[in-house]
């Protein structure tokens, strides 16, 4: 290869790199840097609200289901007897199911036997939103809630394949006959669409706490703005070591666990 060609290749190579750099500068969302930061650290900017929850599992009693019942009641979540059609917004599962990546050897008996709450994490970087072809699942820019438009959802279930937490349920059949007590203040869903926890956005709009938080007799659930340093939830996060589910996937869950 002669000098000229080598020089040409060097320059075009640099040109391409410069181009990429410019692009990532112009569109911060696409820059490599943000992708790296989002997987580990990089707490969100202040100013905007980012709703989050801390679950103090030390306070949560194993057999209690008050939060689950309250949620499913106010949101008209149907109850089917078979696992195939099951719809759930919040539920309890053993440690190894809720935290499959965490240590499995010599786990204390208490941890092994207790069950842990699982719900949608309202991820800051939600793969379900990325996968949805209609924006029926979307992240609310103003408060970080990952919400759903039941009227737009086409029922393709891409979001279910994309969510690494099993947080989503599909209406395999008409849910209405399986709703025990209808609550007229929240819409029921139709057959053929996906649903999941909505962080009680309808209650937040009325300045109320989420139903699960309110229902817990032990005060194990704390809800608040993760971007507000003064908030109770941030104080809890400051004082305790917490876990996020599968944090290695870079989804940045907004639900934290004190084990």
């Amino acid at each position: 290869m002669d000098e000229q060609r080598r020089e040409f290749i060097r320059k075009t190579g640099l040109g391409v790199l410069a181009g990429l750099g410019a692009v990532s500068g112009l569109f911060p969302e696409s820059s490599m840097e943000s992708a790296v930061a989002s997987t580990s650290s990089g707490d969100s900017a202040s100013g905007k609200t980012r709703w989050g929850m801390v679950i103090d599992t030390r306070k949560c009693r194993g057999e209690c289901t008050r939060c689950i019942d309250a949620c499913h009641e106010v949101h008209n979540v149907p109850k089917f007897d078979n696992a195939k059609d099951e719809i759930k917004w919040i539920w309890k599962s053993p440690f190894e199911n809720v935290f499959p990546g965490e240590s499995k050897q010599f786990v204390s008996e208490e941890t092994r036997e207790k069950s842990y709450l699982a719900l949608c994490n309202h991820c800051d970087n939600p793969p379900c939103v990325r996968a949805c072809p209609t924006q029926a699942t979307f992240k609310r820019r103003w408060d970080g809630i990952v919400a759903m438009d039941y009227h737009r959802c086409i029922g393709c279930r891409f979001c279910m394949a994309a969510c690494p937490y099993g947080a989503r349920s599909f209406n395999w059949r008409d849910p209405r006959p399986a709703i025990k007590k209808m609550d007229p203040s929240y819409p029921t869903r139709e057959r053929g669409v996906v649903e999941k926890c909505n962080f009680c956005s309808e209650r937040l709009a009325r300045n109320m706490q989420p139903a699960c938080v309110e229902a817990c007799p032990e005060g194990a659930l704390t809800f608040g703005d993760l971007n507000d340093e003064q908030s109770e939830i941030r104080v809890l996060l400051d004082r305790n070591h917490t876990l996020q589910r599968k944090s290695e996937l870079g989804t940045r869950p907004s639900v934290f666990y004190i084990i």
Binding site: A131, T134, R157, C163, G166, W172, E190, R191
Partner: protein
């Protein structure tokens, strides 16, 4: 031209009626599904996709494989493919239509399908898949029909067809790449989260597609006397051989990465598929059958003497198609859901209704292919 499909002998009409019968059963089952919801299928909260999406995945490969005859013929002027190229293109048309039908069948709210276009969402791979699939369908219908129409009139094909055909070549690659991206970009589904998914899709497509094409040419020869030519079939057999080698090589790569790294998440799905996990292993015999028959067929294909004998070639092609159909059309999609994100093992069994809808859609595709090939053969043999 289409009127040529209306002339046929008894066995032709018998075949058509048989297909219509299966289609009718499928339509009836689909009506049941629309009426009660997708609960009539075997899918559920944990295994939320089943045979529909699996067939879709396999058939995108069949559609893409038309490029294996289009490229040599149009780009390299490989004359021996002259008679077979239209068969490949029409097979792509039928396969693409089946793909679209399988997606529709899988949807909870098919009445809202236009939402994908009304709210275009570039960060969703489905958006791109819908775009490239429909584009591919158009490209193939237009080029296939135009070339055939010109041939019927005995004139050269119009000039504008060439660019359309050239465009269809990279487009074919794109449809299967984007289909792989549907799965490969999802965090937490370890079986799919692999950079070789798209290459593997392409390799298996270029093995199964041309193998199917070889089988179709034999059927055509038997039923209509239309002979694609020995050279064309031999060349296709070579393509199948190389693509199958690459396919099995890539499957081996998956095993090495998962089991040498020994990372549980990466091993689990493969363990479930091939050895069973926690006592559950509904697909184990399927997967080993797929491996055995695939590798066995590959051995046959690798021996030039066997490859050139039509009996062995037909057997090997059947083996390759079946092997890849199981691998892609059963194992890959179901395996992606086991274990679930909460590491539970939930098994899936398709229901009769689901199988009937699936057969119905296959029958629609084969029906279309029959009609299209009927026309093509009539034009080619000028009767």
């Amino acid at each position: 031209m289409i009127e040529k499909a209306l002339k046929g002998d008894r066995s032709y009409w018998g075949w058509i009626v048989f297909l219509l019968f299966i289609i009718a059963a499928g339509v009836y089952s689909y009506a049941r599904q629309l009426d009660t919801g997708l609960t009539v299928t075997g899918m559920g909260r944990d295994v939320s996709w089943g045979v529909y999406i699996a067939q879709f995945t396999f058939l995108v490969g069949v559609a893409a494989s038309a490029v294996m005859v289009v490229l040599p013929y149009y780009l390299h002027d490989y004359k021996a493919f002259g008679k077979i190229v239209i068969v490949g293109e029409f097979m792509a048309v039928a396969a693409t239509i089946m793909c679209i039908l399988f997606i529709l069948a899988d949807m909870g709210r098919p009445d809202r399908v236009l939402n994908v276009l009304l709210y275009p969402t570039p960060h969703s791979m489905v958006f791109w898949d819908v775009t490239v699939l429909n584009g591919y369908l158009l490209l193939n219908i237009i080029s296939g029909w135009a070339v055939l129409g010109a041939e019927r009139k005995g004139v050269p094909a119009p000039k504008w067809v060439k660019p359309v055909i050239y465009l269809s070549i990279p487009w074919a690659i794109s449809i299967h790449t984007v289909t792989a991206f549907l799965y490969a970009g999802l965090p937490g589904r370890h079986l799919w989260l692999t950079a070789v998914l798209a290459p593997r899709f392409l390799a298996s497509a270029f093995a199964a597609g041309p193998a199917l094409l070889i089988l179709v040419t034999y059927i055509l020869k038997k039923t209509t006397g239309f002979d694609a030519g020995k050279e064309a079939v031999n060349k296709l057999a070579v393509i199948v051989t190389y693509a199958a080698v690459v396919n099995f090589f890539l499957i081996g790569m998956e095993f090495f990465t998962a089991f040498y790294s020994n990372i549980p998440g990466h091993m689990h799905s493969l363990q479930y598929l091939f050895f069973g996990l926690h006592g559950k292993g509904q697909l184990v015999s399927w997967m080993w059958f797929s491996m055995m028959i695939g590798l066995g067929s590959l051995v046959v294909l690798l021996v030039p003497k066997l490859r050139k004998s039509s009996t062995w070639l037909i057997a090997a092609c059947l083996g390759i198609v079946l092997s890849i159909w199981i691998d892609k059309g059963v194992g890959l999609i179901l395996g992606g859901f086991v274990p679930s994100p909460l590491e539970e093992i939930v098994e899936y069994f398709p229901t009769l209704i689901e199988i009937s809808v699936t057969l119905g859609i296959w029958a629609i595709g084969i029906f279309l292919l029959t009609i299209l090939l009927k026309v093509a053969v009539a034009v080619k043999t000028q009767d």
